[in-house]
Symmetry: C2
């Protein structure tokens, strides 16, 4: 699995996808492993996180982050071991959370590196429940969603890395929690393993009816990461004073144009007005970076106590990252998708 230290395998953006990405939009390059200059650190990536936001970076449409250039190494969060350091704050052997990208080795000037417990039993969790996805769930649900005991919270993509945590936190806060997931296996997991009260299958023909039946008191908080037909079923069920944290729209990321009419933009606004709904987009580290410590303390405790469960979908080998990513956009992963790049 590991490469010789002299070679750095990199997966780059070969061309910009229009619609769904395919293998042809990625390229595997082998380059000499980089050498750290003064003030730099050489990182060996161990685990790479695959996340839906990366689809946005592959396009040049305006979004919350600069797009990648064609030829760039694909971006992504990694857990890495410091191989060598010419930076006073870091030493060989340190375990770090980095933004090391889809490659074996990365250089860093220290910015954006976070120290992890070097003996951490399960370092990939720093990419999942104890990292960006867990943090996204925590702040989006609690700060924007503000769930109150007894309220109904609905979570799309409910078995996902972010969403599975959203639902479990909502349960801890005394809410009735309804998941939306694709297929019996994921729905069963959400209810039986994660303890959600119900789950509607968005692949079923009667999905809107399933959702309505599971939300007899309407929906007070809808944590949105999907959009499209899933949101269409949610919209008429939203209660007065509902809150809709907007975390992602994975069902729309591969769209190449607007869908046919009628134009429901005004309908959405009318619903927000007459039901006094708050809908708000957020980007976790930009909006809440200063509260990461608060999150980590709370979530670390919940995970230790077994109150928050998680599931990882670990793909072996950097070379398999493109197929795993393509599958994730189609909902084929099951749990937090992580690529094991190297044994530690």
């Amino acid at each position: 699995m590991t490469s010789p230290a002299s070679v750095n395998r990199q997966i780059t953006l070969a061309s910009r996808p229009v619609g769904a990405p395919t293998a042809t939009h990625f390229a595997l390059a082998e380059r000499p492993a980089p050498v750290p200059g003064e003030g730099e650190v050489l990182l060996r990536n161990l685990y790479l996180s695959l996340d839906p936001y990366m689809r946005g970076r592959m396009s040049d449409a305006e979004s919350y982050a600069e797009p990648m250039a064609v030829g760039d190494v694909m971006v992504g969060g990694t857990v890495a071991r410091v191989v060598s350091s010419r930076h006073p704050d870091w030493q060989a052997g340190d375990l770090v959370l980095a933004y090391g990208g889809w490659q074996d080795y990365a250089l860093s000037d220290g910015r954006g590196l976070s120290r992890l417990d070097p003996g951490m039993a399960h370092p990939s969790l720093a990419l999942g429940v104890l990292g960006m996805p867990g943090f996204t769930a925590y702040m989006g649900l609690l700060d924007i969603g503000q769930p109150q005991p007894g309220e109904t919270v609905v979570v799309a993509a409910a078995s996902g890395a972010v969403e599975s945590v959203v639902g479990q936190i909502a349960r801890l806060k005394g809410c009735r929690v309804v998941g939306i997931a694709g297929g019996n296996e994921k729905c069963g997991y959400v209810v039986d393993e994660l303890g959600f009260d119900a789950c509607a299958d968005h692949r079923a023909e009667d999905f809107p009816q399933q959702l309505e039946a599971a939300c007899r008191q309407g929906i007070d908080v809808y944590f949105e990461s999907v959009g499209g037909a899933v949101f269409d079923a949610v919209l008429p069920l939203l209660n007065t004073k509902a809150r809709v944290p907007l975390c992602g729209l994975i069902a729309q990321y591969n769209d190449t144009g607007l869908p046919p009419g009628p134009d429901r933009l005004g309908l959405l606004m009318r619903t927000l007005l007459t039901k006094r709904i708050r809908m708000q987009g957020f980007i976790i580290f930009d909006d809440y970076g200063a509260r990461f410590g608060e999150f980590l303390a709370a979530m670390g405790e919940w995970v230790r106590q077994g109150k928050i469960k998680y599931r990882e979908d670990v793909v072996e080998g950097l070379e398999n990252a493109p197929q795993a990513f393509i599958g994730m956009l189609e909902g084929r992963n099951f749990g937090k998708l992580v690529v094991r790049i190297a044994d530690d």
Copy 2:
């Protein structure tokens, strides 16, 4: 102008409009003036407020308030004088803010009555800058919009009762304020009299270009009461972290169906997501009723100091209320629309 005390003229909902209301949707009835029972108060309505929300009450579509029934007296806020009272808290001669409706006389059991200074020089202001419209402006802008000094605040229907106050408060808070209004006269008023920094004419062919030219730094707060083509021009100019208090959608109230495609519902959500925008509907007394005193103290002082200006469009005679209301939905009023029902 006044009727004999024995007759109560009432304007009722004759039929539900589909699309724009016309005179045929209203009826004028003459009924005996009501007689207060034990615990009741007889009110003589002096001024009636006409407001866009009333259009919603005429339909039976789901909205934030129960629709009126056909045959009901049209609802509305009034300034009234107590004629006689069998309620311990009220006496003949008291000046009150009431929800007395489109009629000469109303009965009240005291609920929803607010006492006004009986010698108030300008009692109709209790229906405007010192009443529901001013309160709507104050809370919507400050609580949801959260304008910061130096930010750009855009207000649609800028010469309107609510919106003219929004812009002036935003100026007091150190913002750059851009209005949107229909025609040269209203645009001139907004800039020259109210002190807005600029105003774009939504009736001009180059309206989107005018708005963009007036918002070189983008839009940080958009106070929405119009919707439709005005919002279409605003949407691409919204900045990252913009706030959109949703107070009304007057351009859409007469719509009989959804406009043709493409469907931009997903586009709006994508914009809220990628720009991390907060869009939130509100209904002033339901959401903020407890803060009316805070508003009245602040606004009363601003009005006394001449820092907030207002303009009334006073229509003489209850019988002219329907035409005035129809004209308001077409933007033909200029200033807070009030009907003088009777001399005091």
